[in-house]
Every structure is written in C-alpha cells, then in structure tokens.
Symmetry: C3
Subunit: 269 residues, 3 copies
C-alpha cells in the first residue's frame, strides 16, 4: 500500500470526522497533547477518574495511556479504560514514558501489557527495549538512535510477545507488527528540545488509528511521517524551540496534501 496517499486519506478523515480521543496521560503534556489533537482536527478529552473512565472510553474513537507522571490509582483507571476499549474494539495506544528508569514505571507498563490488549506501543528505544525479555536484555541492547539489524530483531520479538505494533521514535523511526518493518525518516532533532513532542505523537497515532479500521501498522507509520513532516515544516519558520513549537502547531493544522505527497520519507525493511 502507498503510505503517502493513505496518510492524506487518514488526515482528511480526522479533519472531517473529528474522532474523540480519550487520554489518560501525564500532567506535563495534558495541555500540549490537547492542542496537538485539536490542531489536526481531532477532539481530545482528558479523564482519569476511576468512576468515569469506562463511560468515557466507550464513546471514544481511540484511547491513549501515558505513564509519564503515573501514580497507582491512575494505573487502575488505565487498566479499566483499556479493558473497556478491548471489549469494544477501540484501539489503545500506550506510551511507556520512562520505562526502565524506575521499577514503578517498568512494572506499570508490564502490568498494562499483561492485563490488557495494546494496539500500538510507542516510545523511544530505551523505553521500548527495557520491555524486552530478560534473555534479550542479556544479549545486550544498544539504545543508540541509529537502527541496527539487532534493533529490528528485538523490536519484532517484542511485537510478537505482546501482539501489538511497536513504534520506536529515533533519528529514523522504526515501526513493526512483528512481521513487516517500516521506517520513517521525517522529523527534526529540535523536537527533543520541546517537552511533550513524543507524547503528542502518541496522541496523533491514536487519532490516525481511530479512523483507520484494521490497518494499524500503516496508520501508525502515516502518523509518524505526517508528524515528522510537520516538524520539518515548522523548523523552516524557526530553529529556536519556543517559536518552533508554535510553528509546529500551525503546521499540524495547515499542512497541505501536496506537501505530504512530496516530502514523506517512508521505506520498508
């Protein structure tokens, strides 16, 4: 399938249908993720209270779980929301912020992955690889930004272990369902100097999956390429992080189909 035309199709559907994206996310990025989702045409809602998450997820097009400032009662809400999503066929996108850095974060991600079905797991290499089996870890994981054939093998193993799509952000992004592998070369290093850009990509991936039906590998790849391309467009306006992040929201809102067909950089393998 042609990712360029699919990306255009999906972003047009988001702008037209304005899917509701239910976010149980961290305090740092609630505002920025909401603005990113609004800019692409989606409808964000943030709701974390155990008493309402099931109801909220039920009316959503996709669910975002993000453990960035996690605490125990929020984990319970995430699991309840994810179970609701699972029972209704609503895609669930998990961002394992800081997995590997503390025991709480690693265990929270492991518990969510064990008790619920995640559609897409999106993070950076060190977060994702921290979830590899201990056998893999013993082999040693180099979480540098460049993708090696080792990285691809481990990403595929994790995808197969958890039966989900693994999407790793880096200099080149790596997306796999355990079988096919796609790489995205869009994006810009300045994104790492603005908080919430990774979490924002998780939210955008959710919006793309909300309108995509079954083709989540392609939808995730489209989200990554679209998002990275908007960053490239923004950096033309400014290579300073304050102005860049303003221009990035503008680009997410106004990027045109022609830019998407011309500048998206996706390859297989």
């Amino acid at each position: 399938m042609e990712i360029k035309s699919y990306t255009i199709e999906l972003i047009n559907m988001i702008r037209e249908k304005s899917p509701l994206i239910h976010n149980i996310t961290n305090f740092v990025v609630m505002n920025s993720s909401a603005n990113i989702l609004l800019a692409i045409g989606a409808s964000p809602v943030m709701a974390h209270c155990r008493s309402e998450v099931e109801e909220m997820t039920s009316i959503a097009g996709a669910l975002v779980l993000n453990i960035g400032t996690v605490q125990e009662d929020w984990t319970e809400s995430m699991i309840c929301a994810a179970k609701t999503a699972n029972s209704k066929g609503i895609p669930v996108i998990l961002d394992p912020v800081g997995a590997g850095a503390t025991k709480l974060r690693s265990e929270t991600v492991e518990r969510i992955l064990k008790e619920t079905k995640i559609s897409v797991l999106r993070g950076n290499a060190s977060e994702i690889f921290s979830l590899a089996s201990s056998e893999v870890k013993t082999r040693g994981v180099d979480s540098s930004l460049l993708i090696t054939s080792d990285h691809i093998d481990i990403a595929k193993e994790i995808a197969n272990d958890f039966k989900c799509i693994i999407a790793i952000s880096g200099e080149e992004d790596l997306i796999t369902d355990g079988n096919q592998v796609l790489r995205v070369a869009n994006g810009h290093p300045l994104m790492t100097r603005v908080t919430g850009t990774g979490c924002g990509l998780t939210a955008v991936t959710a919006a793309f999956c909300a309108v995509a039906g079954e083709k989540l590998l392609e939808a995730t790849t489209s989200a990554f390429a679209f998002y990275g391309l908007c960053a490239e467009k923004a950096v033309i306006t400014s290579d300073n992080p304050g102005s860049f992040s303003v221009a990035f929201l503008d680009a997410l809102y106004s990027i045109e189909n022609e830019d998407i067909s011309t500048f998206i950089k996706v390859r297989k393998g």
Copy 2:
C-alpha cells in the same frame, strides 16, 4: 446600561486592582487559565487541597470551579471553597466541562448546584442543557450553535431553577439571569481549535465579576464581549492555532479602549 463603557470600566479596574482569582480547575488548562488571567491584569492562584481551599477562597475576589478532570476529593474541595465564598459574598463561577458526557460529571455539577450558590454557570449549549429538568429534556433540546427561541426559554428556566446567571458560549453567546437576555456576537471559530479557550473565558468572567459588585449579568456579558473581541483581534495576526493563541494572549494584555468601544457586538433579547 451601556455594555461598551461598562466593559472598559471593568477591564480598567481589573488592571488596577489585580483581583485574586482562586481556581479549582482541571489539569489541562491550569497553565493557560493562569496566563489568560495574568494577561488581563488579574492574579491567579490554583489551589485544590481540602486543607487550604477555605483559607485561599477567603482572600480571593472570585472563585472558579471547573470539573474538566474531576475526581471525588476535588469535588469535596470545590464544595468547601464554594460554601466559604457564599458566606463571604464572593462570586462563584462554575464551568461544567463535559456535563452530560459521563454520569460522574453530570452528578458532580448537580451536587455543586444543589449544595452551594453559584453566581454564573458558563459552558457550551450541550453542557448547560444537560442540566435542564427532565421535563425540559423530554421536550428535546437541540444543542446546535444557533440560538433559537426554545434555547432562550430553556436557558431562562435553568437560570431560574438554580438562581444563577446562565452563560452559553456559541456562535452567538447567550447570557441570561432568567429575566433579561443578552447576546454577544464577538469571537472566532478558531477558538475551538485551541484547548482551554472556554475554560479561560470562565476565568475571565470570574475576574470581571470580582470587580463588578452586584451587576453580574452585565459583568458576564462584558467578559464575553471583551474575550471574543480579543480573539477577533488575534486572528488578524494569524489564522493558525499556534500563532493565534500567542496573539490572543497579547491581545488580552494590550487591547485598547477604542477597540472595545468600536467593535463590541452586544444586543438584547
């Protein structure tokens, strides 16, 4: 009374007196509401802990309650803070974010309205109309953006039921105390593509009410017209959401009396 000159009077008082606005609000908009209040010259404080809300409300000029990311212990704090405000004659502005979407949100708003006295209830049509009596609901409420005579009747009924001002944001805003009706035609659709613009208007309404004394219907109308006009000014700078929201803060800070007298669009009925 002339709303234009009253708006100028109130914004000048806010800039001069810098009223303290106590916000018990949602996680998504804490930062943006604080910046909006600072831009117009008010002093925001966010405090939600049961142990301090009464003390904080006591020294405030107005209290904002916003249920956007509500959880049970925050509701208790909201009710304690509102009771303190009631006992001291401090205006309380309630934003029923998401009322009607989940049972928790609807019940939270109903409980606050039952146990405390709200001065102004500000939301969009679907949120406000979700609070109508079941008799009204049975008649059917069309929460489209255009104001019909049905809308006006229901808004008046809700205002009379809860003895508060009802302020509904829409393409044209509708403000009523159950008797008089005022409409504001300022504003811009791009506001719906930036998170927290509605919640920000609730906070601005609180600041206008803090300096207004008894005339809360006119103060609320002034706040809506002022806020909408600043959005119109901002969209001249940019019609993309990132740049727009920056220009909007700039306009809230720097808009001049002449713009207010010339461009405010308020009418009766």
Copy 3:
C-alpha cells in the same frame, strides 16, 4: 570570583552534560518548567509518586521541590526525595510558592526545612520573609520590591537559620549564604505577567547547581543573572506576554556567550 565567566562556564556545562533535573512541582508549571529546562540544555523529569521518587532522585543531578499546588501525599514524596538527595549529596532547590498565604503552605515549607537539608530556597520576598522567626516578624517585614538593609539582615538570618542559600526574586534579586550577599539587576517586569517564570527560575537554578559542585552561591547568582538577561533579550522581540514567553524560550536556548559577558549585572553587598 568573576560571575560572568562562571555563568558562561556553567551554561556550557549544562548544554554539554544535559543534567537530569527531578521536579516534584505544581500542576500549573510542569509543562513550562520542562520547556525551560529543555531550552537551556538540561533533561527534566517530573515524578511525584511515593513509590518512585527515591529511585528517580538517585539518578538526578538536582532535585526541585515546588509547593505550588501542594497536597499532603505530595509533601511525603518531597521529603522522601529530599532525604535521598541529602544522602547522596544532590542539591535540593525549594520554591515555597504561596508560603504565608495559607497555613498548609507555611507548614509544608517549615516541615521540609526541618526534616531535610535544602541547598537553595528561592521565592519572592513575601514568601521568604514569611519563614523568618517570629521575633523577626514582630520587627515587621516590608516585602516591597526594593531591597533595604533590613531585608539583607533578615535574609542572612534566614540563611543562617536553615543553613541554605536564600535567593529572593525582585526588581533587584538578593542572594545570600548568610555571609556574602550578591545582587542581580537583570530581568524585566513583564515576567510577572507570564505564569511559571518564578518556578522556571527555580528549575534553572537547580540545573546550574547540578553542574556547579560546591559553589552554590555563585551558581545561584549565575542562574538568576542568566535567566534575567534572557528575559531582557526576549522583551526586545515583544513586550506583550504571549509573544514574550515564546521569545524567552528562544533566548534561553540561543543566548550567546558574548551577550552574557556584556550584559550581566551582578554586584556585591
């Protein structure tokens, strides 16, 4: 020691080493503090859950405690994190937001100061002076923005009482370790119209202390001068708060050594 060259040395070290700054901070500024830290080259992490704070602090270069939207369980986490930092020689920077305004806030700060060792206490005059001994308070503290010799004496007393550096933001900033006194004249009044600028300075002070080793008085002074100078640079771009805060992030990221050597205004006494 020459503060100008030391400031350049420290900011270069931050950009090179990217120290991890662990923030247990308030909901309003989590996003802005993260962006401010990223702009200067540091690596922010926000984590407040009792189950992970010790682990997170252990791997950090400095710890920020900020009581802006405090609640009791967060205070426990702050104290645990600070004890961990103390045991490992990691600097702890405390921002007593709203101390003096409510009993909860004053008692929280007093408890943290009693149970842990704080390296730098940064706030405005009214917050800091609210922590003076009752004997001092009886003498009367005028918390105006201008520094009097009375202010200097009280600041020194507080520094000696708590064996920490006292850093007071104002029209001219006052920094003392109880013995030496340094003043910084950089900054701009527009900073008071943007939320989180004070909290952002606390975070920047933490980053400077993280790379400074023992010289925390000088590092704190450098942080204040650097930060104030970036605000002066930003206000050249815009004197409206929305655009100013964007330009401020840009300046924090891109300010050059030559600006620092030329425009920093620090004096002794």
